[in-house]
Amino acid sequence: MTKHLDRTEIGLLVALPLLICIAFVLPKWIVNYVHVSMGTGLVALGVMIQMRAGLVSFGQGLYFCVGGYAAGMTGKFLGVTDFFVLLSAGIAAALCLSFVLGFLLRRYREIFYAMLSLAISMILFGLLSSTEELGSTDGFNLPTASYFGWSPTGETARLTLYTLTCFIAIGCAIALNRFLKSRVGYVNEAIRENELRVEYLGTSAHNAVHLTYVVAAVVSAIGGVLWALPLGHVDPEMTNWTTSGQFVFVSILSGTGNIAAPLIGTFLLEIIRVYAVELSPNTWQLILGSVMLFTIIFLPKGLWSLITSKQKSSKKIGASAPKPGE
């Protein structure tokens, strides 16, 4: 029954084989941008689910970095190269840290949530930048991943990692789609709209925010690991405010309407940047800024609204009641 799979999820499942196929069809450099975009896209997803609760994290790079570093340090100091162990290390680190920090952050809203998350991420930036054992600002390199004792090299390694990344990214997206439609997901919407009423309906806004914060942290850490492994390198720039800022901008530009939006938006923005650099290596920021400005002016609800507005107009004809949450 479709009861268990909504349209977005079906779309994502359909996209999965296509995504894997492009590794064989498209030129390697585009696949490469797709690959890293899945990593950073997951962080944008983490930002997006918080945005659903009206919370803008200007420090999501924190968990992007925690994921990457936890995986990297597991490899560097424990000599582990197994993909799943590294991924688990990233998740575990983010889980612990976000659980603790959540007690602080759940009390904050609006710009103060943004600034506090920023402050915490910048403290980590400072700490990592002055830790010479971890290569300071230059960071350090990660091992090539192995999979349950199998250590592919060269093209096989790249494709294995890419395929796994596709599976995990799509899996995360589906899980988050479920999360948004779960009780907590609805509570988050309600918090964004009117937190007072949420409390009066008999549930704790703090707990919902805390939970969302942890979920966002975990998915960002997964993004961090998936981004760092193909790169083979991590550095503190991952938790710098400029990195976090980009995640926020991608989420807003893509729109919070659909779980797939940040993933696609990340890739599109990356491609725009690549062509802006190619077109005008000295003033690409000007082009990027203008594109952003025009997007906001003409598509205030993000790029995804291009798609939903089309849907709405076609739906009117079908005259079916709009399903909430879709």
Binding site: Y186, E189, E193, Y200, L201, G202, T203
Partner: protein
């Protein structure tokens, strides 16, 4: 009749101003009770204290024999005390149906799952049914922010009832409803509420409505209770006539004091 709620010597001070002083009220199960008083008399403060939004400076609130003073709003809601608001507190950018669905989702105290959709067909049907009770199901797909004040008031009240409360506070349910629609509005409302055994306390400025719908009435003045008893007696009370009903049309300087003004809205 069983006592549902009892307040003892409730006191609330904002700086030097008393918003409530020695407030003692008892509410019985299934009772309907009207509260009158001029702006700044402490009516909303009373509701705010009982529902946990404000913590009283001193005094006790007893609900079903247990002290609930100072408990969090959400915990009090879970005990079965709900409220509506003078200014509707809704989720303005969402459709009416979704407002109700959120309220219903939260009200269901089942074990929440992170990855199971919270909303299904059954819940939607329940939401539509609730809306029909209040005669507003035709607005189900409209955004709150596009609706007239009267409908918003009803949605606000409908949301307060989803948890099937034992005690419901309605803060000026008819404010924002045009004068000639007030009676009909209250009739729909009380009819909807009578289907359950909910005790209702409503704050009202229109004496006709109080007379019509509540057998008992409490009058507030400057944070204290001026009178409490059968509605016709209270409305005939000299002090009530002088300080409450009379002052509806001319504000005294204390009423305009900024602290209390902010308190009201």
């Amino acid at each position: 009749m069983t006592t549902l709620l009892e307040t003892r010597h409730l006191e609330m001070k904002f700086g030097a101003v008393y918003a409530a002083r020695d407030v003692n009220i008892t509410i019985n199960e299934g009772e309907i009770l009207g509260v009158i008083g001029s702006n700044g008399a402490g009516k909303t403060t009373f509701v705010n204290m009982v529902t946990g939004y404000l913590s009283p400076t001193s005094g006790d609130i007893i609900y079903r024999g247990n002290k609930i003073t100072g408990k969090a709003t959400r915990d009090i809601t879970r005990l079965g005390i709900c409220r509506s608001f003078q200014i509707p507190q809704l989720f303005p950018e969402l459709p009416v149906l979704e407002n109700m669905l959120i309220a219903l989702t939260i009200a269901k105290q089942e074990k929440p799952s992170l990855f199971r959709p919270a909303i299904d067909r059954a819940l939607e049907d329940e939401a539509h049914e609730l809306l029909s009770h209040f005669d507003i199901d035709q607005y189900a797909d409209q955004l709150i922010q596009t609706l007239p004040q009267g409908v918003r008031k009803l949605v606000d009240i409908a949301m307060a009832t989803v948890a099937k409360p034992d005690l419901l506070f309605l803060d000026e349910p008819t404010s924002g409803v045009s004068a000639d629609e007030k009676m009909e509005f209250m009739r729909v409302l009380i009819a909807a509420l009578k289907t359950t055994k909910t005790a209702v306390l409503f704050i009202e400025h229109d004496m006709e409505i109080v007379e019509e719908f509540s057998p008992r009435c409490v009058a507030f003045y400057e944070g204290t209770i001026l009178a409490d008893g059968p509605t016709d007696e209270v409305l005939q009370d000299d002090k009530v006539r002088e300080f409450v009903i009379g002052s509806e049309f001319h504000r005294t300087p204390t009423d305009a004091a900024p602290k209390e003004g902010a308190q009201q809205c």
